[in-house]
Symmetry: C5
Subunit: 92 residues, 5 copies
C-alpha cells in the first residue's frame, strides 16, 4: 500500500455501470518526509475520506477486496484514513 493525499476529484457521467455512485478521487503519493510526489492515481474512496487527508491506498486486484468493490473495474482504492505516521529510519 502507499500513503497518499487527496488532491482532487474526477467527474464522469458516461462510465461502466459498476462505477455508478462510486467516488473517484485523485490522490498524490507522498514521500516519507511528508512532501508530495509528482505522480498521481485515481482511487475509489471506500472509507469516507475527507479532502486533503492522508490516506492508505491499495492497488491492483486487492482494490476489489475493499468494501463494496467486488467485481468492480477498479485498480486503486482508499482503504484507510491515516492518523499518524511514525518514522525512525536509523537503528538505535
Amino acid at each position: 500500500m502507499i500513503i497518499a493525499r487527496i488532491v482532487g476529484t474526477v467527474v464522469s457521467s458516461q462510465k461502466d455501470e459498476r462505477l455508478m455512485g462510486k467516488k473517484l478521487l485523485i490522490v498524490r503519493p507522498v514521500n516519507l518526509d511528508g512532501t508530495d510526489t509528482s505522480g498521481y492515481v485515481v482511487a475509489v474512496d471506500t472509507v469516507g475520506a475527507g479532502f486533503h487527508e492522508r490516506v492508505l491506498v491499495v492497488a491492483g486486484s486487492s482494490a476489489r477486496l475493499a468494501t463494496g468493490m467486488k467485481d468492480t473495474p477498479v485498480d486503486a482504492a482508499i482503504v484507510g484514513v491515516i492518523d499518524t505516521v511514525d518514522i525512525s529510519p536509523e537503528s538505535s
Copy 2:
C-alpha cells in the same frame, strides 16, 4: 486508475479470437496540469469514448471486470469518459 487521452488506434487482423470486435485504442496518460506524458498504453474501449477525449483507464486484472471483457486477454480498459477534473493541491 489513470487519466489518459485517446490519441490513436491499433489495427490487428491476426489476433486472439477473444479480441475480435474489440476496439483497441492508444491512450496517453496525462499529468494533473493537463499535459500529456511521454508514455502510452493500448487499452480496449468499453464505454464508446471519442477520439481525443480524456478517459479513465483501469489496468491489470481489473480490466477484465469492464463490461464485456470477462476472460479476455486485456490488461487495460477504458471504463469512463471524463467530464471534469477538479484539483486543489494546497490545503485551505
Copy 3:
C-alpha cells in the same frame, strides 16, 4: 497492452513442464514514433507472429487468458500481430 517488436528468441530445455512446447520470444516495447525502447520482455507467442513483426503484448495475469495459456506460469503473451497504428496526438 503495449506495442512491441520481436527481436529474439529464448531457448530453455530445463523448464516448468507447462512451458514445454511454448515459443518464448524477446520483444522490445516500441515508442509511438516507431523507435524501440531500451527495455525488453520475454513473451510467449500465441498467435504465430513472425520475426521483427510489431505485436500486441498483454502482461500480468491476463496473459494466462491468451489461447492455450490457462494455468501456465507466464506473465506476458503476444495476442496480436499489428497491421497499422494510427496516431493523431493533436486535437483537430
Copy 4:
C-alpha cells in the same frame, strides 16, 4: 519479492473493517549493498517482525496468500524475517 527494512508504522483508526487489528508497517526496499533505497511501501506484518529488521516483502495479489490475509485489501505483506543474505555477483 524484495528485501526491505522496517522503518516506521502507520496508525489508522478509520479503515476497512478487514484491516482492523492488522499491523501496518512502513518498509524501505534495500539495495544489495545493504543501503536503503529512497522509496517505501506500507506492508502488513504477518510474521511478527521487529523494528529495523530486514524482511522479505511479497507484493500484489500474492500478499493475500500470507497467513491471515485471505480476502483482505492488502497489496504488500511481510512474509519472512531475513537472517542472512549471501551475494556472489561475479562468476568464479
Copy 5:
C-alpha cells in the same frame, strides 16, 4: 517474463509456513547485451537452477502457477534455465 542471473541466496528461518523448504534466490535482471542491471528480485527456484546461471523469471500472480507454488505467498519464480538467447534487433 524477464531474463535474470542468480547472484545470491536469502536465508530466513522465521517465515510464512508455506515458504518452508522453498529456495529463495536473489536474481539480477540482465540487459540484452548480457550485462546485469542494477536492480534485483528475490525469486523462488522451482526448476533446480544453479548459481550464476541465467534463468527465466515470471512475476506477479503467475508465479503461483509454477510447480509447487499453488497458494504460496510468492510474486516471483524461476521457471526455466536459459540455454541460449538469440537476438537480431535489426530487420534484415
